[in-house]
Point group: C2
Chain length 412, copies 2
């Protein structure tokens, strides 16, 4: 971990708020603001406070590990793009969400909303032969979209953190094989974040004429409607569906199709040879002929997924973070001086502890625990004596454990 | 470390280039491009390739650790700012390097070049009393400046990664004390990066009427001229100097002032109460009166410092990375199959290895080692037998060591 393992609540500049912001239209906006994870700068733009940044970085790191595991190479591409590369692909005129900037010297730029225009010339300068392929390059970087209406908290931002990977292949078969690899890596990444995603057929949007695949998580805060079958993996965005809700599944015929609201946690575009052709960049294939690379684009919304997790992991008291993305492993509530010693001992064992050392009453501290949503609450009080009270956020029950028992569970 | 510990050269998509780009006007632009660390997207905007991103993240992590050590709290603030907050401080009209954006809905935004306008309302919403102070909040985030001329490689970009910290104090004395703490943390951070910085008096620029302090590293690629004394710490930017080169040091009188070119690795601005006043945000002081906070702004150029390091650490063969910011600890050159085993064993010990497993002649591989600049070169060849050749980038001499001896040196 690149962050401090532990933190005192008294040191933290942000505080939980009694009330959610009035303009909050979704649970993620409401809870993340109230619990002090984010602060809205304007519609569609948020600042990530210390607790929120920890969650964001943990999601990013899960995605990074899964991309590295399948051979992805991490880069960080420029965000300010020259107009010329967007003209080459036609997107300067056709993509309406582009933020366009005019400089003092009258030059025009685009704020990156995706990076095909940058990555294609970047990677192809090093590719001369099929022997240099396949290659997969990714980044986790901020993207910008001139949305007419930004809403749903951090689900749809004008500014958002996205992992975008681009792959380069000698032919369609190689892309198809890599797509299967990425699909498995994606499902693994979502599972680690605590999300269940359905692989959904959708239209290719601005990027391609072909079908694309979306990784959809069921939530009422989503912006898409999907039709899915409960007996098999069949799932399709209603935008391109040929069947209706209630009709028999066209894939297995065993169930009738259900309709649900969902949010797009990730996506895959088969870009074909479009970008190679736009930039006229080729490699020499196995037969000695010049060939355009077949490309794929693979996205995962890092900040959006933080929002999706809150939408799907909360109760009426607050957020319920899945273990792997929680800001801390443990929320230690100190009600007597002895808590300082427990804090010190947990830190020494490299446990990520959030230590509420403030001079407040137990009720206020417990309410903050529930709102912030760290998986395990530990209480050290007069009542607990030499032991420590262990309570999980997902449970109503608590237990009295020794320090060694607490440690054993946390290190399990 | 958040990155893969090791990498095979054959896997890397970027390659070293025979020639430096023709428009490269500085050593950092030339060497970083030729060695495959960065790629220029347009003047002032660069993409960071896998090797370059590793260096950038290591510099960032050093700065993060030093800021955390003095109580800084990491956040990530929005980059797309509403026009209104920049009007409140007068900067919308007075700062000429602001990138201004008009959205489809005619709303106007600013691309962040600094974050006083964001951080002041953000932090002050949680500050009601002097008991909530002091607080220091920082981020490492991309910044944007509409430079008329972007030049000097990654030393002066239109887009650049900067650590910016903002501190809030109940009075001037508290700011002064914190400034001294930050100064020591800065000098420590620069030292860890391999840089020697001089603390230099300068004007406050757009931010303040007061004197500011710059942390200057001597290099001909810099954009500032400083006057300094070799007998004491006296150092001043020529822009505000009252003395000339050759004159006696006004501080110690022991030496005559020298003039040199330097680059600004970091800076400190005493913001006074300006921003509290602009936003009319107050706290209750010890006497029960409403008071504006005294603020400080503390910057370190992360991407610029990567450039400064190259400017100050290279020879005619390539880059010479200081240990703590090198992309890898070891550059392993494999000339026989046995190298695979050494690679595996080093990986198992969590040594960061860059393994040149390509089918190229030794001369080409050694030239790449010198160009890329990793501190230690290990060679496994017919000649080295059961041993391994150890050569440091800063030395002409090599030694034959056993694997255990190599390990002992790397883990020292």
């Amino acid at each position: 971990m690149i962050y401090l393992h532990s933190m005192r609540y008294s040191h933290l500049f942000s505080k939980t708020l009694r009330q959610a912001p009035k303009d909050a239209d979704t649970i993620n906006h409401k809870l993340l603001t109230q619990a002090g994870f984010v602060d809205q700068l304007m519609a569609g733009v948020y600042s990530y406070l210390p607790l929120g940044l920890r969650v964001l970085r943990k999601i990013e790191q899960i995605v990074r590990e899964e991309m590295d595991a399948i051979g992805g190479q991490e880069v960080l591409m420029g965000t300010l793009h020259p107009k010329e590369i967007w003209e080459k692909t036609g997107a300067w005129d056709s993509v309406d969400v582009l933020f366009k900037i005019q400089s003092r010297t009258e030059r025009e730029y685009v704020l990156g909303q995706s990076a095909e225009e940058v990555v294609t010339p970047l990677v192809m300068q090093y590719v001369t032969s099929y022997k240099d392929l396949p290659k997969a390059v990714y980044q986790s970087h901020w993207k910008y979209r001139d949305e007419l209406r930004a809403k749903s908290g951090i689900l749809r931002g004008r500014e958002f953190l996205m992992k975008d990977m681009y792959s380069f292949h000698e032919n369609q078969e190689d892309f198809d094989a890599f797509y299967k690899t990425v699909k498995e890596a994606y499902l693994k990444a979502f599972k680690r974040m605590g999300l269940t995603a359905k692989v959904t057929e959708a239209s290719g949007g601005n990027f391609t004429e072909k079908i694309s695949y979306e990784f959809m998580v069921l939530t009422d805060a989503g912006e898409d409607d999907i039709l899915y079958c409960e007996s098999c993996d069949y799932c399709v965005n209603v935008e391109i569906a040929k069947n209706n809700e209630g009709e028999s599944c066209p894939s297995c015929s065993n169930s009738s199709l259900k309709k649900a609201r969902a949010s797009e946690a990730g996506n895959v575009f088969d870009l074909g040879q479009k970008y190679g052709k736009n930039f006229d960049l080729t490699f020499t294939d196995r037969d000695g002929n010049k060939q355009y690379p077949v490309m794929g684009c693979f996205g995962i919304g890092i900040s959006r997924n933080m929002g999706i997790i809150v939408e799907t992991h909360h109760d009426d008291k607050g957020i319920v973070w899945p273990k792997q993305v929680a800001p801390f492993a443990v929320h230690l509530v100190g009600l007597i001086d002895h808590a300082e010693e427990i804090y010190k001992k947990l830190k020494e064992r490299n446990i990520e502890v959030f230590f509420d050392d403030r001079d407040l009453n137990p009720g206020q501290k417990f309410a903050d625990c529930d709102l912030i949503g760290i998986p395990v609450r530990l209480v050290v009080s007069q009542k607990t004596g030499e032991k420590i009270e262990w309570k999980e956020r997902t449970s109503e029950n608590s237990e009295l454990l020794t320090f060694d028992e607490v440690l054993a569970r946390l290190e399990a």
